[in-house]
């Protein structure tokens, strides 16, 4: 079943295209990496899929529903936005933020109760930040905020996950845990994941497909395009090396190779 369909889509701002003529389909159990240099439209693509911005051209369907129309598909997507620091004084604690993940299922006047709190705590425990539940969200480190947002996204039992650089600013141990958690959800629920990242190496074993965005060019397809040196050179404008260690492939820049 097709979960997300991007059909010949052009995206941009004020009529100026950033991405042109992009097409790909995301199906159940797909794990898509979205990679490319800064400013090539990765976040823009994600916002378009979420219906936050309108495509200049083409159509995007999510669960078969055009994103421009108001329909319930948005509630089925767990979304972690790209890093942004929250206002350090904002009156919300980590628990309050995680509980926003329960809002879709609660009607007017209803507030999350004991059941929701327990589930939120459980998710926080999983991420090793249970003791921060009552901490002001704005006073957490960037990485801790990312984890709180992931817990929030997972709370609603989403049917697809869209993660915009969820591991940026996260320490390597937590990064591993975060990816482990995403992998667990991905494997258990078989839901599709769109993962924007500048470093595919930690998730190479999960990736089934990829979108590569460059300036004025792009490629979308199965994971093999990530290892195509010709495509990588076109996207990054630079030589990219693929090295194999212990049967695993790693993607690194040429500079590193010569050092």
């Amino acid at each position: 079943m097709k979960i997300i369909e991007v059909k010949d889509v052009s995206l941009g701002y004020n009529g100026k295209a950033v991405v042109e003529g992009l097409s790909f389909d995301v199906e159940e159990k797909d794990f898509w990496a979205i990679v490319g240099p800064n400013g090539t439209g990765k976040t823009t693509l994600i916002k378009a899929i979420l219906g936050l911005i309108k495509p200049l051209k083409g159509r995007i369907l999510v669960f078969g529903c055009p994103v421009q129309r108001v329909c319930k598909h948005r509630k089925m997507i767990g979304y972690v936005p790209q890093m942004e620091k929250f206002d350090p004084n904002f009156p919300a604690r980590v628990m309050d933020v995680v509980l926003t993940g329960s809002y879709n299922k609660l009607g007017a006047f209803k507030m999350p109760g004991k059941k929701e709190r327990e589930r939120a705590l459980e998710l926080l425990r999983w991420l090793g930040m249970e003791e921060l539940a009552d901490h002001p969200i704005g006073k957490l480190s960037g990485g801790q905020q990312r984890k709180a947002l992931l817990a929030r996204a997972l709370f609603a039992e989403p049917r697809a996950l869209i993660l915009d650089e969820p591991t940026s600013g996260v320490d390597i141990v937590s990064q591993e845990k975060l990816i482990e958690l995403i992998e667990k959800v991905y494997r258990e629920k078989g839901l599709p994941v769109l993962f924007v990242t500048h470093n595919v190496n930690p998730i190479l074993h999960l990736i089934t497909n990829a979108v590569l965005l460059g300036f004025g060019r792009h490629a979308a397809g199965n994971r093999e395009i990530l290892f195509d040196k010709k495509i990588l050179r076109e996207i990054y404008g630079k030589e990219i090396e693929i090295v194999s260690r212990e049967g695993k492939k790693y993607i690194i820049t040429g500079d590193y190779h010569h050092a």
Partner: protein, 268 residues
Amino acid sequence: MPEILKLGIIQRALFASLLVGLLLPLSGSFAVVRKSAFLGAGVAHIAFSGVAFGLMISSPPILWAFIFSVLASVLIWHGGKSKRMDYDLSIGILFSLAMALGILFLGISKKYGSEALGYLFGNILTTTKGDLYTLGFLLFLLLLFYLAFYKELFFMSFNEELAEASGINVSLFSLLLLLSMTLSVVASLKAVGALLVFGLLVMPAAAAYQLTYDFKKMIALSLLFGLISSVGGIAFSIFIDVPSGATVVILAFVIFLLAFLFSRKKSG
């Protein structure tokens, strides 16, 4: 309520102060966390130009205050929605235009100077039963709105993009928040005055904002501070016979100052 019919001037004034003291800090809390408190100042002045217009054409001033400020709110909202104008900018522009128009209207009509001043400085002793019913009904309506959509309003105050991605109609709720603030401001105009209504809108909320990281507690504290400032300030103003807005805002400021000094957020 037969007792209300028998209320004297002073009792009506205190009753009004009670309602205003709850109404303004309630919408003020959202304005403060959304960093759009300046909207309240803008709306108050725009409402005043409506008052001046009403006085000029000998039509009920509050009705025109209402029409002017709702129109301005919708314009500001639209400007913000299309992302072509920052709130600050649209308010700044409409704010000064409104003051210019207000002064123009007053200049044309001349004779209404003292009545206009009443709306600028506030005169709670002129509160009528009708005013009390209006304030009470509005407070009831807004309480219902905030309780029903607390989740949506909290979420979008925290992060609009995330709220919108979760299916919340952020644009609609922004308009509703803006209108609820506008209505509170217009309804309080007579009691507190256009110049000072902003003080009661932001200061109790700003004081509460200093003291807690729990948004619900912040709202509760801000209502409490609003009540103390408003009832205390108005009682005091009646006692020493000065415009009530001034004493209310000074009291609200003292509370803010104390909150600021004892704030847990001080150390960042």
